[in-house]
């Protein structure tokens, strides 16, 4: 219990402003006493970042494994899956000696795959990890504004994960109505097995998750605004910080609206209200609900849902911008344009949500506005792509693993972005809506691309996290298999989608129109299995390198300008021994005045021009 008391004291000290506390104690950090307070209930942003990362990785493996299972059903419907019965039990239905996935479970897996990857991996795992790791380090801060709330943020995420994990094992199965959880399917336990207890747990889990995001987001924003070190003006911040900052704002403003939708959904499920239900006859019974509108939920959901895709992709953009610049040894091209495009994307993401709903019976007149707003997003996105490519142009490129992934990100973002232009057109969306074209689009642009950004970030900042490097050979194998595999999976999906094959189909047998692509589905499944296997390789590399990787010899192995490389190889809680560094220039002085790079803390030299 001694530890608990210490925490209380710590909180009180925080209330009074902690700077003096660090001034007194930064030698040997007295709060690093026990294992539990150091590694489990840690308030050190670096440890919390690692917690987010590893939890995210575990979830990524679970989520990806689910996709492999349902891809096998889809690619090889005639082959028996009885071998997996010991694991999945009654969800494998054996008929005539051939075991197939039960349709309910297929949909449960699809739903869980989406939920886990979108929220737990790409939101928490990506922005949670790197916002925590980099915001204080790159800004020159001791820690987050409120380390205690930062810790809570992780533990709320952890609890959300526990609840979701638990829902996988209940007898009626996890929620099976798609990650968007549209009512009435999600509101009526009669309509689907998974909409019973599974949906309740899903709602609880995501509500906890939103609490986590809000606690984190408030912290990130306050830290960026209030805790920058001396000289770190907004226009000197690395693009990573800009990206995390805007991401946090998006989360702060959009998740509450999702919560309002969730609370109304809970009332519809539990209290008999009619917010989203109207004139429903299900299971031989006419429900008394009238006057609600299922489309209202969709609006509330996508008011979050669209910013959510930027919550996922913006951190990846930030990480990639930084990695590209460092490893191309060139300043990022058009820094201000990059910042403005991040802000523009952030703003626009709030006024385009209904482009997910062109075909759900919304007012065709307002769709016109949404089309225009949506396609305007192409402009800042194109600016970013242009700037990344120009940054690479003529650079002294180091083709190591983080750089490869960063370039891979740009490639993926271009491919996925182009298809987005088609989907943003309501007229084309009539055919494309809810087909594999959409699946391919969002997997490439926010799934694979975000993962590439995350990998680039992990390979690049792994030395900062663990003081060792990840294995470069394994990393390159990882990269090449992943990029080729990702295209192999998703390229054919565009084709299938254009042919009109709808997503979320357990089997295409009953439709002549969709049944022609069995071969392609097999191909996609095989590619998916290979890519999944390669990710396992990455995980092995990751954990191996934590303990046995090549040791870091210098503080700044990549020759980067930003502040995180000025700390000790393994910085303690508080980050810098002694005083905080002072910033005198922007983060992208590479190849300037004959210097390979000039770190941010170097004061302007005599006669130096263009000090940003």
């Amino acid at each position: 219990m001694a530890e608990v008391l210490e925490y209380n004291e710590d909180v009180l000290i925080k209330e009074q402003g902690y700077d003096d506390h660090f001034h007194d104690h930064h030698h040997g950090d007295k709060f690093r006493s026990g294992f539990i307070s150091h590694y489990i209930f840690s308030m050190d942003h670096k440890i919390i970042a690692k917690q987010f990362l590893i939890t995210g990785m575990i979830w990524a493996i679970i989520g990806a494994a689910m996709s492999i299972v349902f891809r096998m059903q889809l690619g090889f419907p005639e082959d028996s899956m009885t071998w997996i019965k010991p694991l999945l039990g009654k969800w494998i239905v054996v008929e005539n000696g051939i075991g197939t996935l039960a349709p309910e479970f297929y949909y449960a897996l699809v739903t869980m795959h989406g939920t886990i990857l979108v929220f737990f991996v790409l939101t928490a795992g990506l922005s949670g990890t790197f916002s925590n790791l980099l915001i204080p380090l790159q800004l020159g801060a001791r820690d987050m504004a409120s380390p205690f709330m930062n810790m809570l943020s992780y533990w709320f995420f952890f609890m959300a994960g526990i609840v979701m994990f638990y829902s996988l094992f209940i007898s009626t199965g996890p929620f099976a109505g798609g990650w968007t959880a549209y009512p009435p399917l999600s509101a009526l336990p009669q309509a689907s097995q998974g909409s019973g207890a599974g949906m309740t747990l899903w709602l609880v889990s995501l509500t906890l998750f939103v609490v986590s995001v809000l606690l984190g987001g408030i912290n990130y924003i306050t830290t960026v605004l209030n805790l920058r070190t001396k000289g770190m003006s907004l226009w000197r911040m690395p693009l990573t910080i800009w990206a995390f900052f805007v991401t946090a704002i998006l989360g702060l403003l959009s998740f509450p609206v999702l919560v309002s939708g969730f609370l109304m959904l809970m009332c519809d499920r539990g209290l008999g209200t009619s917010f989203f239900l109207s004139e429903i006859f299900v299971n031989g019974e006419a429900l008394p609900n009238v006057g609600g509108s299922p489309i209202l939920y969709q609006h509330l959901f996508w008011f979050l849902g669209h910013p959510e895709v930027y919550i996922i992709i913006l951190p990846a953009m930030g990480l990639v911008s930084e990695v590209l610049s460092v490893h191309a040894r060139k300043p990022i091209f058009g820094y201000k344009a990059m910042v403005y495009s991040i802000l523009a994307i952030g703003f626009l993401s709030f006024i385009v949500w209904a482009h997910h709903m062109f075909m759900s019976g919304v007012n065709p007149m307002i769709s016109n506005f949404f089309v225009v707003f949506t396609l305007i997003i192409a402009v800042p996105s194109a600016v970013k792509v242009f700037n990344w490519i120009t940054t690479l142009y003529g650079g002294n490129i180091r083709l190591n693993t983080p750089m490869l992934f960063a370039i891979g990100f740009v490639s993926m973002f271009i491919s996925g972005g182009l298809t987005g232009i088609f989907l943003g057109n309501s007229a084309i969306d009539i055919q494309m809506h809810d087909t594999y074209f959409v699946v391919a689009h969002f997997h490439i642009v926010m799934g694979v691309a975000a993962f590439f950004g995350m990998f680039a970030g992990i390979y690049h900042w792994f030395p900062k996290m663990y003081g060792r490097f990840m294995n470069e050979t394994l990393g390159k194998i990882h990269f090449w298999f992943t990029i080729v595999g990702a295209y192999a999976i998703f390229w054919p999906m565009h084709y299938i989608g254009m042919a009109g094959v709808p997503r979320r189909y357990y089997s295409f047998d009953s439709f002549d129109a969709f049944n022609d692509f069995a071969l392609m589905n097999k191909f996609i499944t095989i590619a998916a299995i290979i890519v999944f296997a390669v990710q396992i390789l990455f995980v092995i590399n990751f954990f191996y390198s934590i303990w046995y990787g090549k040791k870091m010899k210098t503080k700044n192995p990549w020759g980067a300008t930003t502040l995180e490389w000025t700390t000790d190889i393994k910085p303690g809680h508080g980050n810098w021994e002694g005083n905080l560094p002072t910033v005198h220039r922007w983060a992208y002085d590479y190849g300037k005045d004959g210097h390979d790079f000039i770190p941010q803390y170097v004061p302007a030299q005599e006669g130096e021009k263009d000090v940003h």
Partner: protein
């Protein structure tokens, strides 16, 4: 005010942009900033509710008229439209004012003043909760409105009732009750059964047809209890926090803190926010 502790390297006198690092550009402590951003996100939750309310209200062909629904006053008085809820609004405004006074006393490091004004604020908050409890009891117990049933209907055409208030046919020679389009009615319950009175339409295309009183849009009851309930929950948690912080202040915890009574200031922000939300709840549910 919060003590303006900066980061631990020496701060030179800075003349540059307010956005430069090394100082607090917003001249506010991180705690206050975080409270502001929390309130911003909470405002979005409420906006989600209120906008959903607006959409559902617009989509309903009729909507109960608030001055008909909210016209009762404790003591069995009816026919006082909106008076009771105005009293509730006053309570909240007054408690907001006492909160401002508490913060002011906090800024002067006047412990007794803080505690005194906070107690008044708590009383105001409890009073508001009590009023809301009475209002709910009246609506649920007396008028039988619930999240699933809305007995407040609106006539779309003029007409004349064929039955009296108990649902019995009029005695011979009795003057029949007439009504006009747009008028509201409340469907009563007698012995556990709803009495939907029969009437004859006297205007419009349906002239002459006989109809029964219909229940109003269900969304009204659900939205009302849901949104005022969510607001009430905020008031309730606000009261709990107020009590905790008041006790802290009374025990002198804040006297020793460097940032003094900042906690009072933060809970003050929260409390004013609750008042702020009420302005809009009051607007959309009671006034429009």
């Amino acid at each position: 005010m919060a003590t303006d502790t900066a980061l631990d390297h020496d701060i030179e006198v800075q003349s540059g942009d307010a956005w430069d690092g090394g100082k607090k550009p917003f001249k506010a402590s991180y705690g206050k900033l975080m409270m502001w951003y929390f309130l911003l996100s909470d405002a979005f939750t409420f906006s989600g509710f209120l906008i959903a309310y607006g959409a559902l209200r617009i989509s309903s062909p009729t909507w109960p008229v608030p001055d008909f629904v909210f016209q009762t006053f404790p003591g069995g008085i009816t026919g006082w439209p909106l008076i009771f809820v105005t009293v509730m609004s006053f309570l909240l405004i007054v408690s907001s004012v006492t909160m401002v006074r508490a913060v002011q006393e906090g800024a002067r490091e006047n412990r007794k003043g803080v505690v005194f004004w906070m107690i008044l604020t708590i009383i105001g908050g409890l009073g508001f909760l009590g009023c809301q409890a009475w209002e709910w009891t009246n609506l649920i117990g007396h008028e039988h409105m619930s999240v699933t049933t809305n007995p407040f209907g609106t006539h779309v055409e003029s007409g004349v009732y064929l039955e009296d208030a108990n649902g019995d046919a009029y005695a011979a020679g009795a003057t029949k009750e007439t009504f006009e389009a747009g008028e509201s009615y409340l469907i009563h319950k007698h012995n556990g059964d709803w009495v939907q009175r029969e009437y004859q339409v006297t205007s419009g295309t349906d002239e002459g047809t006989r109809m029964n009183q219909e229940f109003g849009p269900k969304a009204f009851g659900a939205l009302f209890f849901f949104i005022t309930g969510f607001h009430g929950f905020h008031v309730f948690s606000g009261v709990v926090f107020l009590i905790i912080i008041m006790l802290n202040a009374a025990s002198g915890v804040y006297v020793e803190r460097k940032n003094g009574y900042e906690m009072v200031e933060k809970i003050g922000l929260y409390w004013h926010f609750v008042d702020l939300v009420w302005v809009f709840v009051f607007l959309v549910f009671y006034l429009l």
